[in-house]
Subunit: 282 residues, 2 copies
DNA sequence: AGCTCTTATGAATCATTGA
DNA sequence: GTCAATGATTCATAAGAGC
């Protein structure tokens, strides 16, 4: 088995990406700093300047993405002056002028959205996951993200993946164990373009931590083991952590050194080093 | 109690609306013919021409809407040539240039979306419900659409409203009765901007029938009894039927005579006429 | 174990205040 | 006037305690 690479670099992705060849990545999945939010912790781009700021980076993304690759952009416009701002709409139109195909818009339904009450607005419980491609013939592995059918499954099987056999309590109260792995094979359904995920309670200190299930889902859907994944706004490192866990090579870029260090500390590579270090001490 | 009016007119809303005064309606809620779909049953507007077709109508909507009123546009762009078409995005930008405020984008999550499988696309399980306003000070009655708290409530209490006392089977299997009405008073939560509604199995023959829960929700949220509701693309008449049921006056417009007749047959007014007719025969 | 209760806490938004 | 900082609002989860 070839050695897996998890490469974390510090800097503006616009500059850092110039060091990479064309057509390298199978998937770019990222959650960039939203306009004007995180003013102190992150760049803090004004809504009016967002498209202008993003476009040259989108152009670099296009260059380093394989023709069969996919770019997933997690973003949501903020409410400004009582209105939804239009910079995301304008961004989509501008990216198409660059040659990107706007293939799909997934909805991430945030089940645990931020609380609050206002006279003319409800709580914001969703974000966009925009899918862009260079060509119509992109790689998509739908079978990898099939989910158990039925509604109870959605709510019950969140923490799968550690064990194949999971104790499952039936709704009629009797309770029984079930071999989920066998059961999965029988009743798998393809998902839709609406994703139901809860945000993670972050003791990670990056302000924009999206839940690991989000990059995980897209990595499974658009790449195979050994493929290359890029997150140009890495933040706390969720994307590269999941890429590593799923046996994909990855590159993560962030402009803030503290996030790069945080991300590095989350990789398996760094943990292995720690273990080896301890072993050497013993 | 003043007599309730349910006024159904046949014709292009662009023409028909000229007969109405300025600032008449408290709510416009509609699901217009989507671009290029419904080609045979409906107008069949090409995606490239959609904005141009819609804008003059949007201008009339603006004229007849009260300053405190709201315009809800249920729409979803179709996939053309492997890409999502951009006419909805362009429509939003164009409407803002007309002076509309783009206040919010609600997501209608279609729990039972259209089945199907494609190599590069999942099933489309959501539509946009775009909220536009003339001014920032629009009427919004958030208390009218509060829902019971908790996850079990969402899934269990769908068919409320007919009885105050509902038999409720607990998840532990014992089963017990509960006075929902009392319980509702204590634990009502405000919803978010994601709506979870199933599409209706349409024996109604309008091809784009949205579920009655959709106009119902917006009518409750943005109008009071006696207010005026407009659906300029009425279709099978769901909007006026719900308006009537909720004691609002309404105007429905459709270009196809058969839909106008279908809609008229669904109103309480027509049913009362039938009853009276029978009574006369007896 | 499993159920119930309690607690903490988030990529938020708006009205108000002060510079 | 505009701009920045602050307070008030509020619910779906996870996690932990207690029975």
């Amino acid at each position: 088995m070839a050695k897996l690479i998890t490469d974390i670099r510090c800097g503006d992705c616009l500059d850092v990406l110039r060091q990479f060849d064309d057509d390298k990545f199978d998937l770019i999945v990222t959650s960039p700093p939203y306009a004007d939010s995180r003013d102190k912790t992150y760049g803090g781009i004004k809504p009016e300047e967002y498209v202008e700021w993003f476009l040259p980076r989108a152009q670099e993304f296009q260059r380093v993405l394989k023709p069969t690759g996919t770019f997933i952009l997690n973003i949501k416009e903020k409410a400004v002056n009582g209105e939804r701002h239009t910079y995301v709409l304008e961004l989509i139109l501008a990216m198409r002028k660059l040659g990107w195909l706007w293939t799909e818009e997934f909805i991430w339904h945030k089940k645990n959205c931020y609380p609050g009450k206002w006279p003319n607005r409800f709580r914001d419980a969703w974000e966009r996951c925009l899918q862009f491609n260079k060509t119509k013939k992109f790689k998509m592995l739908q079978d990898e993200v099939r989910v158990p059918m039925g509604s109870w499954a959605e709510t019950r099987l969140k923490s799968l993946g550690k064990n194949d056999v999971v104790r499952f309590d039936s709704q009629v109260g009797s309770g029984f164990g079930k071999n989920i792995a066998n059961w999965l094979d029988r009743d798998l359904a393809y998902p839709s373009n609406v994703l139901h995920l809860a945000t993670e309670s972050g003791n990670k200190r990056h302000s924009a931590a999206f839940p690991s299930a989000l990059p995980e889902w897209f990595i499974k859907l658009f790449t195979e083991p050994g493929d290359w994944v890029l997150d140009p706004f890495l933040g706390s490192g969720t994307t590269v952590e999941m890429a590593e866990k799923l046996q994909r090579n990855s590159v993560g870029i962030d402009i803030l050194p503290e996030y790069c260090e945080l991300a590095r500390s989350r990789t398996q590579q760094s943990k292995l080093l720690l273990v080896n270090g301890k072993a050497n001490h013993a």
